[in-house]
Amino acid sequence: MSTVVAPTEPSGTPTDVRSRRLTDRVFRLRESGIIVVLAMFVLVTTAIQPRFLDSANIQFVLVNTTVFALLALGETLVVVSRNVDLSIGSVLGLSAYMSSSLFGSIHGISVVVVFLTGLGIGLACGFANGLMVALGRVPSLVVTLATLYVIRGIDILHVGGGEVVASTLPSSFTNIPQDTFLGIPVVAIAVAVVVAAGAYYMRSFRSGRELYAIGSNPEAARLAGIPVGRRVFTAFALSGAIAGLAGVLWAAQYQTIDSSAGTGYELQVIAAVVVGGVAIFGGSGSAVGAAIGALLLATINSALNVLGISSLWVEAIAGFLLLLAISLDRVISLRLANALRLMRSRGGA
């Protein structure tokens, strides 16, 4: 008995190609949009106060951004898959203290070992998060909210009222944020490379792209055979490891570490990530955009300082920008959906 196969539309029809091109163009526009805003900000501020673009200030902004850009990379991995990691601030704080206190307790310890310790601490926290979210099927908002508390509590119990002071840190460590290469801080270059690598992984490696699928429609992803649990676990493990690494960098930069290190960072990072074009419900956005979001917020902070406007305005501006960004994204996606619908109804049979 012969079976009738319904004729399928070849995937290269004009409508399909046109709608795909339109979508690509819109998404790329979104990312270049933040760069445009950043450029405008820099131009306007420099016009009013040329001091803004002098090398000392640029270095300062870049070094400040590095920690947040790293955190933004980790958070992007998680948010794209339709999860959220609220524990990164606490992980950063714990890693910052525990790794930098090694200098005081083990004499002559190498800087590399300290970095690896911080990475390891973050990785352990990320493992815990990932296990609970992937295996336990518990919403990540709740899990990471709880680990935010627990990790911060462990940090406070461990640190007590103590702190790591700059005098215990060797200059080979504290010089890291200050080393420059051709005028650009080495840490900024390193972090830029890491972020670019992360974005490349998410875009061009199968496991990276699967994160987008999971965020776009978790059930469909599961049915399509994507190992959702494993991918989500990896995303959280990486986010934790990156936060641990960022903690060590933070310690090198601020040099005084107590139990409050990193408090509140998670919301700032999420704001940066959303401003950078990553959808809060996952499925779209890139780590590069998120890092630029972090850079934008740090630039605004610096611009306000330079212009003499009280830095008290930063938080309000950041909040306003976040609201503006998600409103714009919503309007754009509605328009895009409309345009695609019109295209299909006009082009289709």
Binding site: M132, V142, A146, R152, I156, L267, A271, L322, L323, R330
Partner: protein
Amino acid sequence: MRWETGLAVLVVAIGILGASISSQFFSSGNIFYLGLSSGEIAIMALPMTLIIISGEIDLSVASILGMSSALLGFLWSHGWPMPAIFAMIAILGVLAGSLNAVLVTRLGLPSLAVTIGTLALYRGIALILLGANTISTFPGSYTSIGTTQISGTDLSWSAGIFLIMAVIFGIVLHVTPFGRWIYAMGASPEAALFAGIRVRRVKTILFIVSGVVCSFAGVLYTFRLATAVSNNGLGLELDVVAIALVGGVSIFGGKGSITGVVLAVLAFAGIQNALFLTNFNQEATGIVIGGLLLVSVFVPNLAGLTERGRRRLIGTARTLKAPSHGVP
């Protein structure tokens, strides 16, 4: 076993534990202190519960508290009379809640992202209003709520207000049609819409109520501490969400009760107090909240996990036992 029953057992256990740790636990002074320290968080947890059940979330609650505290200090230091200040703070609460409501209902934006944005925006406004200033010149008649009980009882003013509000919110949620609409919206937004429930209107009301309640909580907070400073209430939103979740409110919406939240408040206050009496580092009590939170989500899931595991085992056994398709 119902969630609230388990919570009640927990509260009793905490009570026993606390009494065994310190004979002071149930003393009138301690009960006063119990109610005092968690009063504002408990009050804010009530509208939060309704919002989470309806399927949304409001992370800006602590910033609204801070913003109203800053406004209180700002206006007072500029010589405004208290009644006028209270009116302004109520208006502030309405405006803050309205912004959340408009962005969520009109623009259809996810409330998680919106309220993270307004969390920053409102905290920023608090910073702009007060800067680095600290206003502590409030008259003693108001700041006495931080030191005196409601006459005739051991309760602090904030605890008493919480109990009255809990009754009101409980009636609204569990008895009125409005409450049924909230559950419906959380359980299935589409079905609720098609059933004729004014989803937008209900959510708008919930966010505005949250705004007003939180700005009022800001007044209580300021008078209790007798200080208005721009970081008042910083970070409290997570405590409020944690309490609602431990109280049995499902983060997915559609499930939860005021009873559970009240029990969670008692559990939370009890644990914090017991730890205080044992000289446990106060700042690390977060571990307990975090642990409670994890337990509260894993216990119901554990039942599901073991059920899934059991079913898989039974399924495998059945296929092994089934006779193969034989040809007669």
